[in-house]
Subunit: 206 residues, 2 copies
């Protein structure tokens, strides 16, 4: 059984679904990567430990993922391919606050897989590339939130979606990942609303 | 000769000054830590390499800094103690744009010592603690920018300095350190001005 999870984080193994032996192997291996990373950190992440933990034959793991960078990239590729859609609450405030609550949950949930993957991105170029793709994809998918708000006349028509979305979400990453403060959950709504105020004032119109 | 350097970054060895043999040793050792970190990364940072590079006796290095965490913490403590003062240009726009240009320079300068120290903070608890103190100190010192702007009537009187400063700076860290985009220098002014628009709208009044 898979419990419901916030879907903007990086832990989201898809619910078990048909896909046969290959999909089952991938699920077991990527679960093992996440668990190993969270429990023991990047330094303890190696192909043999992942193979042993997953119960998948070492030869298979080496052939399919090649190295630790390949494993991390696939964890992130799986998160990127998860079919996530941004919220559609009918208002910019509702949508952006909901997105930020997902980001907050992803950055504070236990086990801290998102933080562990961000840390790993400073060690592995492949993980850094995959993380960049994951985030680019998430901001791209969220652009519709900004376009809908502009269509409703909530913000200027030529508002740049990415700049607004980065302004809304960046303070959460900054506080929780870099500054390592214990900012409470209210930061999600505060930061979304501050960015909306900027947008209304035309700050993200090029 | 020390070339002028942006002072909001973490590379700032203070200009050589009187202080005798102890200060000279510290300068040589911390220079060696920064160079070693930038050139070879955290994995190659060890006490013996730093001692050899600095020309300071290994016994002295071990006695005074104990371990790699101690070395990193002292690099950050030195940066924290550098007497930096925020700009005072006469307007909130001028001050915040100037701060953000320093942050941008720190995050994009070569060699990338700030990025290397941030990466190290994911490996060393002592470095993480020292980095937290460095940033808390910088935001604290910058609070005067917000108070002066409120006194001039540019923004509401009860604007929270830290929230405004984090909103102004966070997108730079997010783009350059986590998202790893090649955001150009215009992001410094754009992000400062978006945060000021929020502040004017009262978004940082509790």
């Amino acid at each position: 059984m898979n419990p419901p999870r916030p879907t903007n984080d990086l832990s989201n193994a898809p619910p078990r679904r048909p896909g046969g032996r290959s999909a089952d192997i991938r699920r077991r291996v990527l679960d093992a990567v996440r668990t190993q990373l969270v429990e023991h950190g990047y330094d303890a992440l190696n192909m043999d430990a992942v193979a042993d933990r997953s119960g998948v034959h070492r030869t298979t793991v080496y052939r399919r993922w090649r190295d630790v960078g390949g494993l991390l990239a696939d964890v992130l590729a799986e998160a990127t391919d998860d079919g996530w859609r941004p919220p559609d609450t009918g208002s910019l405030d509702g949508d952006l606050v909901a997105v930020n609550r997902e980001v907050y949950a992803a950055l504070t949930t236990e086990p801290p897989i998102t933080t562990a993957l961000i840390a790993a991105s400073f060690r592995s170029e492949q993980a850094a590339d995959a993380l960049r793709i994951f985030w680019a994809d998430r901001y791209q998918r969220c652009a519709v939130i900004v376009r809908r708000a502009a269509d409703r006349g909530e913000i200027p028509a030529r508002t740049d979606p990415r700049r607004l979305l980065v302004a809304a979400t960046a303070p959460l990453y900054h506080e929780l990942i870099l500054l390592r403060t214990s900012a409470g959950p209210h930061i999600a709504a505060q930061s979304a609303r501050a960015a909306i105020a900027s947008a209304r004032a035309g700050a993200f119109v090029d």
